[in-house]
């Protein structure tokens, strides 16, 4: 079923390129859409669920060739739990979707910059994921795909309420725009919390790296819009962009401050973490994320010159429990995982592999 290819390929977002790549890992656009005249996924019969999958699959297959890429659709119930977990770790499916119960499917573009969750909370969750701060480009891609899908599918839409969604928190534009940021300096200087409190007043929300209900790990934060009704897509994007730019500015200032004020302490922290990652024989997921954050800061501030952020982005995914076990090809207990994780990180940080 082509699963091996998903496992080995590198998603577009992992490239580690794009504007403000020293702070922004990814820009994400998610559009929630439903088909008209039938129940939302949580009330569908199995037959209706299968019907939605086949209609959306058909629409994806009929996208203009070349221009918008080609899609493969995977049935989640045919995947192993570990494979589904790995999809979440690659940010291609939500934790909710990866439970894999009922009639759920996932459409994936070859470069993994686009994924279409079918029968998640809504019939369609179209997601576009680009590296760096590229909200406009990501939106452009998403809205074009959305236009093409709409030629074949009749959306549930209301003049006053906009795109109709299962949860009233998504109704209207159905748009969730997010920017994933690495904010080690703001966290170290205790400014992050204050910043996040201020953001909630602007209709923005900060989440962990796997979305709703997940915690922030490795100093990675996902900032997204909360309001979907009453603001246009342009307003939502501009609002998020301007806040993201301010956070980037503040993170850069905080890094500068740490570099001038406490350079040796910072260098010591970065190189200690590097030393541990490059030599440890066992490392937990939590420690790996923390150390990788330090090393990323080292790369982005020019302390470490010969490791690329692409390698770090790959490690971010490879060292997660699901992916790790999938690589080995069997279930591992916690001690075995820690050992395999350490081995993988050592391997990747070897001078020849950088």
């Amino acid at each position: 079923m082509g699963w091996d290819k998903i496992l080995s390929s590198r998603s577009k977002w992992m490239e580690g390129t794009g504007p403000a790549a020293d702070i922004v890992l990814t820009s994400r656009i998610r559009l929630a859409r439903n088909l008209d005249g039938r129940p939302f996924p949580h009330l569908m019969s199995p037959e209706q669920g299968t019907q939605v999958i086949s209609e959306v699959t058909e629409a994806l297959k009929r996208l203009p060739p070349g221009e918008l890429g080609t899609f493969k659709v995977y049935n989640l119930s045919e995947m192993l739990p570990l494979q589904r977990m790995a999809l979440v770790e690659k940010h291609l499916a939500s934790p909710e979707h990866a439970k894999g119960d009922g009639q759920k499917a996932l459409g994936l573009r070859e470069d993994e910059a686009v994924s279409v969750m079918i029968n998640e909370e809504d019939h369609i969750r179209l997601q576009c994921l680009y590296p760096g701060l590229q909200l406009d480009e990501t939106w452009e891609l998403a809205t074009r795909l959305d236009d093409w899908l709409e030629k074949k599918l009749t959306y549930a839409f209301d003049e006053k309420k906009g795109y109709l969604t299962a949860c009233p928190t998504n109704v209207g534009t159905g748009l969730r725009a997010s920017v994933m940021m690495h904010l080690p300096a703001l966290t170290m200087t205790d400014q992050a919390k204050r910043l996040f409190t201020a953001m909630s007043k602007l209709g923005l929300v900060v989440r962990g790296i796997y979305g709703e209900g997940t915690e922030a790990i490795g100093n990675l934060f996902q900032v997204s819009n909360q309001i979907t009704l009453g603001q246009s897509e342009g307003e939502i994007l501009n609002n998020l962009k301007s806040v993201a730019r301010q956070i980037i500015e503040q993170e850069r200032n905080a890094r500068e401050m740490l570099l001038t004020g406490t350079r040796v302490e910072l260098e010591d922290r970065v190189w200690r973490s590097y030393g541990i990652l490059a030599n440890a024989r066992r490392i937990s997921s939590e420690e790996a994320m923390r150390r990788l954050s330090d090393v990323r800061l080292g790369i982005d501030t020019g302390m470490i010159g010969d490791v690329s952020s692409r390698v770090l982005n790959e490690l971010l995914v490879l060292t997660r429990p699901g992916y790790l076990q999938l690589l080995v090809g069997r279930k591992l207990n916690s001690a075995e995982r820690d050992q395999k994780r350490a081995e993988l990180i050592r391997e990747r940080l070897k001078p020849s592999k950088r």
Binding site: N34, D36, G37, R38, P39, F40, H42, L43, M85, V88, P95, A98, E121, T143, D146, D147, E150, K151, T154, Y155, A156, F157, D158, E159, K160, K161, G162, Y163, L164, T165, A166, C167, P168, T169, V171, G172, T173, L175, T197, V205, R207, G208, E212, G213, T214, E215, I227, T228, L229, G230, Q231, S232, E233, I236, S284, S285, E286, P321, S334, R337
Partner: protein, 170 residues
């Protein structure tokens, strides 16, 4: 205090999470905390958007919805009752939004601060909304030209608006 996860070891790890200004606390033993740290996203989040929503809707056990206005208590298309919506925070289908109509307005206003969509309109399913949106946009432009006393441009816009209005009503 004993760890509620395994019920065996003492809880030595104390986790405080703040999401959207909502605070939750967890007390776990070392081992369970480690396990949870790794598998955190595979388990049900401690509270979800749905929980917050049903809180807003004031559903608590025996709470009965009061009928306001002419809206039915059950959606004609999918059969979801307003009560079920209040319990789960999820609507059953697109039709629910029309069926429960005015009863959803206060909730939408609390979540979004608005009850009126001003964004993208789909080409096919959008109906007349696309035309209306276009006319609104042109009217705003027209006003700007009038304010700047650019009457030629204003007249051109007025003609375009008239044409669109004919299209809308015909």
């Amino acid at each position: 205090m004993i760890c509620p996860e395994c019920g065996k070891r003492p809880a030595t790890v104390h986790v405080t999470k703040i999401v959207n200004n909502q605070r939750t606390e967890m007390h776990l033993c070392q081992q369970c905390a480690q396990e949870k740290g790794e598998l955190d996203f595979m388990i049900e989040p401690k509270f979800s958007i749905q929980d917050l929503l049903t809180g807003m809707l004031g559903y608590e056990g025996g709470w009965e919805p009061t009928r306001v206005g002419p809206e039915p208590n059950r959606c004609k298309l999918c059969g979801l009752s307003y009560r079920e919506f209040a319990r789960t925070g999820r609507l059953g289908c697109g039709e629910c939004y029309r069926q429960f109509g005015n009863r959803l307005e206060p909730l939408l206003r609390r979540i979004h601060g608005s009850t009126y969509h001003s964004g993208k309109v789909p080409k096919r399913a959008g109906g007349t909304a696309r035309l209306k949106r276009e006319i609104e946009k042109l009217r705003a432009e027209l006003q700007q030209h009038v304010d700047r006393e650019e009457f030629e441009q204003a007249a051109r816009l007025r003609d375009r608006i008239r044409k669109l209005e004919v299209q809308l009503n015909g």
